[in-house]
Symmetry: D3
Subunit: 231 residues, 6 copies
């Protein structure tokens, strides 16, 4: 990969549908509008997140996949991939790392956006796992002899160039998302099964956080990331 | 599934490319000609099976996938799926069971053909795992609340009706494959990377075994299976 | 334990409610009538076994625990213990072995009855696990320094004296259960959630098997076991 | 659970007997006196913590369970539960999470007190595991379809309302324990097997830390916690 | 390896000290006298096998290693390797397979002798694991890209030529050990910690089995094996 | 161990060859010159770290072991131990903990130097595992009944007295390495396979960091550590 190659392929790795819309949707939309090609990779379909026992996990998963596709479309995301792991039970195994590594090698994203697994009091175990395994897979994807059985038919090792971690305490990069802010809120609203009932409160929280992040850039709304540039 | 529904979708689960051609290719071909729809599911792409260290695992995997596709085409198999697990390192985990269960629910085969994991002195660990996990997945696939996150968008529990286990000591079903025998040998020859050098010896062994199995039916060539009919 | 101590405490280890009634209920009843003290240990509560998705796993578990308690009471079983592992997903881990080992050391059964895990084509993964882990726990329970943290407050290592494995190909012990046969069938009927709809067929199968086993003793009905006497 | 329900059931999850007395005994005592119902859940019985090889693990466990019960009684704790896992070898598995989840659903604590697993240089692996798995279980306990086999006989999903993490770097809540301080030291003294020989030094350290924490409230002694309020 | 190379390096893989003396000591001694070079590989040092709780595991391990070395010396074994895994808790993991694979590649035995893991009612979990992992390691050792990190400094893949499985139901090879029989019994006596108290009974059992095996060869004493010739 | 015993045995635990030279080589050299006995323990031989697929893992491992031995010799390290785990795939299992615990008990280091596993954005999974498992093993090594099978032939529990964690955010100890700085750079140069091509840039980075650390001591070059004194 030439050093001057534009970093125009992005993969967002989340644990559940709606993680991207809660975490980095403004940046996703802005980057999509700027011509980057964005793919979502959701490890689970959020099948456990209903207070109503009459909604079975698969029914909820179907609904949430639909919601996620609608939100992604609103933002200009090109592709949404669901891996179908069971919500609430993710573990950072070598099996999952291999699965993600293979997808990185096939999709060849320059940039990975994911959850910061080092954030203290990141309480959801799935969130910690998703962020950690995504980064571990980035390391694995670079080497010829880690999961070498994947290097089939033109697939080669792949070096992700940058990671942007959201939900972070270690922010060192801010993206001005003022332009897209209302649209990214609208995308969040697609996740009716999760936000109906307290949508206004949720929006207020996100708006507040985006305003605070905006202070770093002296803009109205921003999103904060820990940026990692892989050598 | 009505009791009278014809059992016309078949999934063959093997550990490596060439497992079906070694184990049950005559039956596969005969059934394909009789109108059954056959899919191959290979857990690995056989990436470790080369005596030459200059052939990297991925290179070998690419070659063997091609060989497998050619052989499958010869036999009339409709679809070949490679899961890309690492050759030689299969383990019968719940993760792998979930993966296969999901595929069974999507493909809805009436019949699963796989390796008999109970055969004494089945030495290859991958062979034991492939057969066992395939059958364990058959049980899982039937229930609404085992891996319920998979029952998305019309996917429902699925009851495989029969399993045919090859490489078995407990044969109780024989298929007359006289009609297809030479063609199934030709399909085996597609696996050049594995059989070149001792092809004649291999063929002789398969021919001999098929003749012995044929005695059960008083035909020239047969393939022997342990048949399981799931209640 | 003196050699002449009567073997009068029995623990039956099954994977699901109804395993004992399908597998060894006649012997259980006969032994209970003869004064042995019998406890059931069920690893799961059979929570996945419903074809109706509107019945949630916990609801089914509640129902099946009740059915199991009723059946056990019919047979004269003193105690029924449910461990609550998830149906369909048992694995033979050291954790589960430790759990069972602790229970063996507390209950001090002379005899363990469980499923023969070596039977070829024992298809249900839970059945294989239940039998295997029960026997592995018997070995562990004997030693001072395997799971030594359990030897608390008077709890000591415990040597199970005999195991009786049901659903076996290696039968070498038969119990004449003619006296209890109809009563053990009645106990099986308590498992309505499992046997309603095809109860007669089920009974016929059990009756047939008990008749065949009876031939070994020249009695009407018997149950067959592989008996293991631990040195 | 109505929003206005008083938060009066508390579960303290520790890795070893004495963890609560070292970490949060003043608050436990004060809350017990204020009418809260407190239960201790100890994952291990601390069976490895003796410098004398002639004391076997089970002997030590028996002693330490007794010490823990005495200390708990001093503090007004209602119930002490020992899970009996092996000291020094805890792992944060889904099995352990399921076990704790089941206990949360049965005991229905409004508040969980446990070790802060995010503290840097929390060196004891058991301490990290205990805190993490307790919080992971809190998340699991809320959902209908995580470990659904547990929702038996009236057991329902349970939402813990608050967690208080002790041994923390992220303190944001302080409890004035001046009233109970000497009594909580006396309770600590019950753990003779652990504190004899250097009790004064231990007390001094705890006193010092409580004084420092007291500064936040301008009181003599306080205990510091990271408080988490679950939405 | 030229086809005509004599098969003169032998590795015996057992779970515990005394497994070789119970299982195949006559053959070991005869082969050693015939010039083969024999190494023992013991996965554990049998640290749990004492009925006296005052004997700690490490003390017992020390004693049993000494006994094993003495017995091996009697038989003409050149080398005894102890891996030090914990007695009673062996698991067939990829980690253990890798460990054994590395040792096979370094020691380059032509023949592996181990326990038959397929024997029905092989009750000791360690025995099943030892035999299975030894054979799985034989398969792994042959390939360039299974555990490729081991092929360091002249170490190359290694093809074991034959395996002899003892404690087997599938015997197809018998070795006349009449010449060495009394000497192999003497070697067994070295394991005082295990056989004192019932040595005569043990000897009688072994003698009886050797006589029965001898019938296959019409000799006084033989040892029976399942022989596997790897292609 | 008497309190006044000099802390003169040091074990450096790294994930890959070159970890010590990147992390703490100045201190290693200074301490060696001051008479301490230093051993390196490398969990892997760095077999994956080549951009050239024609270099097989084992070949690279051989080269890197040689480089590591040369660098260690330059620094005055007495012993280099390679455990041969696969590069890039380390996991913090109880198996690995047991392995390290045994080595600590045999080598009896007063001081362990390793990677700080708590550093935020320590991206390499192997680095996190190496540091964590080393510290977990320190805890295990102290107890009579954790991995008691290791306490064979005079081996006893061992209390490491101090740990020095490098690559840390929590530095509280600095070692003036001005005296050894250029020599430690020379030692780093031994790792040609890793540093050729960008050696100057690497050196500049290390020099810069050492200068910054030097400010704490008002010396030219220092290395920064989180020091842990085990009670």
């Amino acid at each position: 990969m030439a050093e001057t190659e534009p970093l125009d392929r992005v993969m967002v790795v989340g644990a559940h549908p709606d993680d991207p819309e809660f975490g980095c949707a403004g940046t996703v939309m802005k980057w999509a509008q700027a011509g980057k090609s964005i793919a979502y990779l959701l490890l689970t379909s959020g099948d456990k997140g209903s207070p109503d026992p009459a909604v079975r996990p698969g029914q909820l998963a179907a609904l949430r996949e639909e919601e996620q596709r609608a939100a992604a479309k609103d933002l200009g995301v090109e592709q949404v991939i669901f891996l179908g792991y069971p919500d609430g039970l993710l573990e950072n195994t070598l099996d999952l790392r291999r699965r993600l590594c293979g997808l990185l090698r096939q999709h060849r994203p320059h940039i990975v956006m994911t959850i910061d697994p080092w954030r203290r009091y990141q309480l959801h175990p799935d969130h910690r796992v998703a962020g950690q395994v995504a980064l571990d897979a980035v390391y694995a994807a670079r080497e010829w002899y880690i999961f070498p059985e994947q290097l089939v038919g033109g697939v080669e090792p792949w070096r992700v160039r940058e990671a942007y971690l959201f939900w972070t305490e270690g922010a060192d990069y801010w993206e001005d998302v003022t332009c897209c802010f209302e649209a990214r809120i609208a995308a969040l609203a697609r996740h009716s099964s999760q936000v109906d009932g307290n949508f206004e409160e949720v929006v207020e929280r996100i708006r507040q956080r985006a305003r605070e992040a905006g202070e770093a850039l002296a803009c109205e709304y921003a999103e904060a990331f820990k940026r990692i540039r892989f050598r």
